[in-house]
């Protein structure tokens, strides 16, 4: 069997978080979340369950017909169960920064901007933060700019928020009460010590800390024989690099 790629492990890890969903949406430039959502949909179909996936970057997997605002309206209506967000910086209270580093008025390095995060983070019940790079540069003690806050006061309308943070080294769960991440799983080639060293914020460690689970053969088969081709429609470069399709 061909060796499991790191991206495949991450896709499988994400797919495990999607099994209770009815509708998953995936934003721009997210091949790994997109593949995970399609994998979850395919596995649901085998169980005779219907899972809807909306991939904005795709025509084929885009369920919307009301223009670019429908993603946000649909999410605000509570019709999207899971959405993925990234960040130039993510801090220990799950604040995310997509704008830049340094002080805002005198910015050091400018990044693209906040996209729809400032609404989606508030209204989608399960937000999965996904950032491959796991380093003190990306996972910081305090973000330089809050594109969207990790938590809100009680009087703020906020049915949604952060549930998990996945990097290429670790999976964290966010504890809303404690406003703090808890480490659940680490990559097979990774040590807890190293994860602590590479994380710029303090976090709890789950009593049952385990390695990320290797996908079974069935899942790997579906991923390589089916999902790969689906992904190649909207992320051809990624599909080519990982699976050569």
């Amino acid at each position: 069997m061909i060796e499991l790629k790191r991206e495949e492990l991450l896709i499988s890890q994400l797919a495990d978080l999607l099994i209770n969903d009815k509708h998953i949406a995936v934003g721009a430039a997210s091949p790994i979340p997109g593949a995970a959502a399609l994998l979850a949909k395919e596995e649901a179909k085998i169980q005779n369950n219907r899972l809807r996936v909306t991939i904005l970057h795709s025509n084929k997997y885009n369920n919307f017909t009301d223009g670019a605002r429908e993603l946000f309206d649909c999410a605000a209506q509570g019709r999207i169960d899971t959405f993925f967000l990234g960040g130039v910086q993510i801090d220990g209270e799950a604040n995310i920064n997509l704008v830049g580093t340094g002080s805002y008025e005198n910015i050091q390095k400018r990044f693209p901007g906040s996209f729809g995060s400032a609404l989606m983070y508030f209204v989608v019940p399960q937000i999965i933060l996904f950032r491959e790079e796991h380093s003190p540069r990306t996972l910081v003690n305090k973000v330089d700019f809050i594109s969207a806050p990790g938590f809100s006061d009680e009087n703020i309308y906020r049915p949604g928020g952060p549930k998990f943070l996945l990097t290429n080294r670790a999976l964290f769960k966010f504890n809303k009460q404690k406003k703090r991440f808890c480490l659940l799983k680490i990559h097979n080639n990774e040590s807890l010590e190293n994860v602590i060293k590479l994380t710029g914020f303090k976090f709890d460690v789950d009593d049952n800390l385990t390695n990320m689970s290797i996908p079974n053969e069935n899942r790997i088969n579906i991923l390589r024989s089916k999902i790969s081709y689906m992904v190649s429609e909207f992320y051809p470069e990624f599909a080519d690099r990982i699976w050569g399709v």
Binding site: G67, A68, S114, A118, F122
Partner: protein, 273 residues
Amino acid sequence: MNQFNELSLSEIVDEVKDGDLIGIPADYSGVPMEFTKELIKKGIKDLRLYCLPLTTIQGDMLIGSGCVSQIEAAAVTLGEFGLAPRFSEAVETGKIVIKDSTCPALHAQLQATEKSVPFMPLRGVIGSDIQKYRKDWQVIENPMKSSGNKDEPILLLPAVQLDVLIFHAPCVDKNGNIQIGRRRELATLAHASKNVFVTTEQILDIDLFDDELSAATCLPALYIDGISVVKNGAWPCALPGVYGADNDEIKKYSIAAKTQKGFEDYMKKYLFN
């Protein structure tokens, strides 16, 4: 005979004035690159870009060419080719004013103008630094007794009316109706703009309103002030459903534009070839 105002590309360019608040469509909505080229050649100044909700190479080129004083956007990016280098540098060096926003806010501000109301409420956003730095936004306590929570803070966004909007469409009909398909954000943009001009790949010798289903794919001619046929008018951007992006060209740009010098060399060829 076509029953609409058919213009040359330079006539459309002449309708854009220094200082205008101009609507900028996202990369999936039909980017009018040939128009943008001519606008840069004309030496337009102090444009204020209103992106719905983001811009890619179009915004970056306008900024690098010194045409822009202000940009309101949820993102400026070259997508898989990385950061928008002229945008990033212009913000880092304080050359342009950036009004950082978030996608639904950019939609809602236009929808306020669409309805001619002074503001639209939006949920979320509160507690972000986006909100903190937007002095034209306002947070009030929910005044509505019959819905929502009484002590809930609510964000109000001002109505924004664009001076002018230009986008590129696959086709228009002989009566000037524009086929936009699922790209309905173009309707919102048009409704909220004083003037709207369209460049298009072709004029169809039919009336799209003759059939109810094709009518449903249109932005009606009543919102349009002029149309110009421009082949490959979105190149090197994609025109969804017609042609894909020229990724080699965008990559070339992304590398060249990393420095102002490289950008200028690139633009010389781009504008005058």
